[in-house]
Amino acid sequence: MLKVSNLTKNFGGLLAVDHCSFEVQENSITGLIGPNGSGKTTVFNLVMGLLEPTAGQVFFRDKLAVGLKPYQVTQLGIARTFQLVRVFQKMTVMENLLLAPRDQRGENVLLGLFRPSLVRTQESDSVKKALQLLELLGLSGVGDEYAGNLGYAEQKLVELARALMSSPQLILLDEPAAGIDPILIHGILEYIRKLRDERGMTFLVVEHNMQVVMNLCEWIVVLNHGQKIAEGTPQQVSNDPKVIDAYLGS
């Protein structure tokens, strides 16, 4: 579904991503791991169009995604969450969610101003969807709260919910478990699996918590110094000497 081929990013002499190639299979939960500074978030930013690669390609469903602007990538059906949460602080949780759906007619100036029934119908459908998501993620009480007033863990959930609101086919999760209560993590993982099983979504997950990665992902890509050093099932990867070496150092 997502194919990264020979992706390279050079930050003025620093090779952050070095000829990296991997694939994310449709309907899979794929992990992207590696020590700090190995280029995981840079890969995300390259895929999302926030950075332009020095070389290499990204294909989403056989369509070239490199060279597109971030909003165009999102419109293709890819959504993401950020490593450090980026919720809209001084907007309510509900507004955060309502922003995300694609093709909103009310975003046109005139349609927004006069709000014909077309716009109102679309809007109330989004509200309905948002309420369901909030309930699923245990956020039902805080819909009208400013997102910036919530705790860190709740903000991460708001971000996840916002990503889901755009009905993406592929979601890139940047450290979904970091800073979240272990009990809650369990619930989130359950929910991610459910989305994959029931709605056919695909996930690419960057995560430092190895328990989470091994538990959640069925395929893992390991980066070190911007290069892919291994890929395989959790079992294969965790026994790979190169991976152990990268993590424990030599």
Partner: protein, 301 residues
């Protein structure tokens, strides 16, 4: 003493400033575009209306032209500058303010240069001439209501939601699939267009313009107003406009010599800003939360 006429005059000016501050609020308070050259749009609107009106164009048409001209200039300015991040945008728009003033001053054949343009006709609409201050006040309030309704309507729409998200975090807004460049463009164009309404009203009220009416001081005055009123709140912008204009124009009426009046005005406004910053950092009326409710349509499904 404060007569009824003076009160009416004060209110007309307050209403014009209300329109200006609502329009600046759209860019600064709602979208987070730090526009430091808003006086330029006010001036472009005013000169467009004045020149057309002197050439015999009816009031409604010169106001429409003022709105379009302001929107057009905003689009041209926005084309290169909206790709800049906040601080640079502030510098670029400040530049626009000074360029506009230089043009007003030096394009003598069109703008009358430092002598300005005088004898601008009274506004008239459907055969009714707004010759008295009271009548003009009615016209201004009607314009304010329209501008207010448009600003509020947009703020509560999905369009306004995108503008707010750009203010909060533009990268995140892009990651939500929003082409933020064009949303910023629309915000700036609409904001400038509203300033065009104010410019047109202003020239038909004062019947004279010269470049000194559109200095950077006006932009700062407007920024103060929206900060004190509450960024992102249009009602706050109106309230603070009335307060600020009352202080400014009121001091003129008391009859203090300029040497005392002008510094006193700045002193009072400064203290007002300090008090609001300390006691109500969000402004007199903080931005209102927008509560989205499920409508019957969705509930019924």
């Amino acid at each position: 003493m404060l007569s009824l006429l003076m009160l009416q005059h004060l209110l007309v000016i307050a209403v014009i400033y209300s329109i200006l501050s609502i329009s600046l609020n759209m860019a600064v308070g709602v979208t987070g575009l730090f526009n430091m050259g808003h006086a330029a749009f006010f001036g472009i609107g005013a000169y467009t209306a004045a020149i057309l009106s002197l050439a015999g164009t009816p009031f409604w048409l010169d106001m429409l032209a003022a709105v379009c001209m302001c929107g057009l200039v905003a689009a041209l300015i926005g084309l290169p500058t909206l790709r800049l991040v906040a601080d640079y945008l502030a510098v670029a728009t400040m530049g626009l303010g000074e360029i506009a003033r230089a043009v007003f001053k030096n394009w003598t054949s069109l703008t009358g240069g430092t002598m300005g343009l005088r004898g601008i006709p009274q506004a008239s609409l459907f055969g009714l001439t707004f010759i008295s201050t009271a009548r003009f006040l009615g016209l201004s309030v009607a314009c304010l209501l329209v501008v207010y309704a448009v600003a509020e309507g947009l703020l509560h729409s999905p369009f306004g939601r995108v503008l707010k998200s750009i203010r909060e975090d533009e990268i995140a807004a892009q990651s939500c699939g929003k082409d933020t460049y064009w949303f910023k463009m629309w915000a700036l164009v609409i904001s400038a267009g509203m300033a065009g309404v104010a410019g047109s009203l202003y020239v038909h009220y004062i019947n004279f313009i010269d470049p000194t009416s559109f200095t950077m001081w006006i932009t700062f005055f407007l920024l103060l107003i929206i900060m004190v009123g509450g960024l992102g709140n249009n009602l706050g912008a109106v309230l603070a406009s009335v307060m600020f204009v009352a202080v400014r124009e009121g001091l003129r009426f008391i009859g203090l010599p300029t040497s005392i009046g002008a510094p006193l005005q700045q002193l009072i406004l400064g203290v007002l800003l300090l008090l609001v910053t300390i006691l109500a950092p969000q402004g007199l009326i903080p931005e209102r939360k927008i509560i989205a409710r499920q409508t019957d349509h969705a509930k019924g499904q």
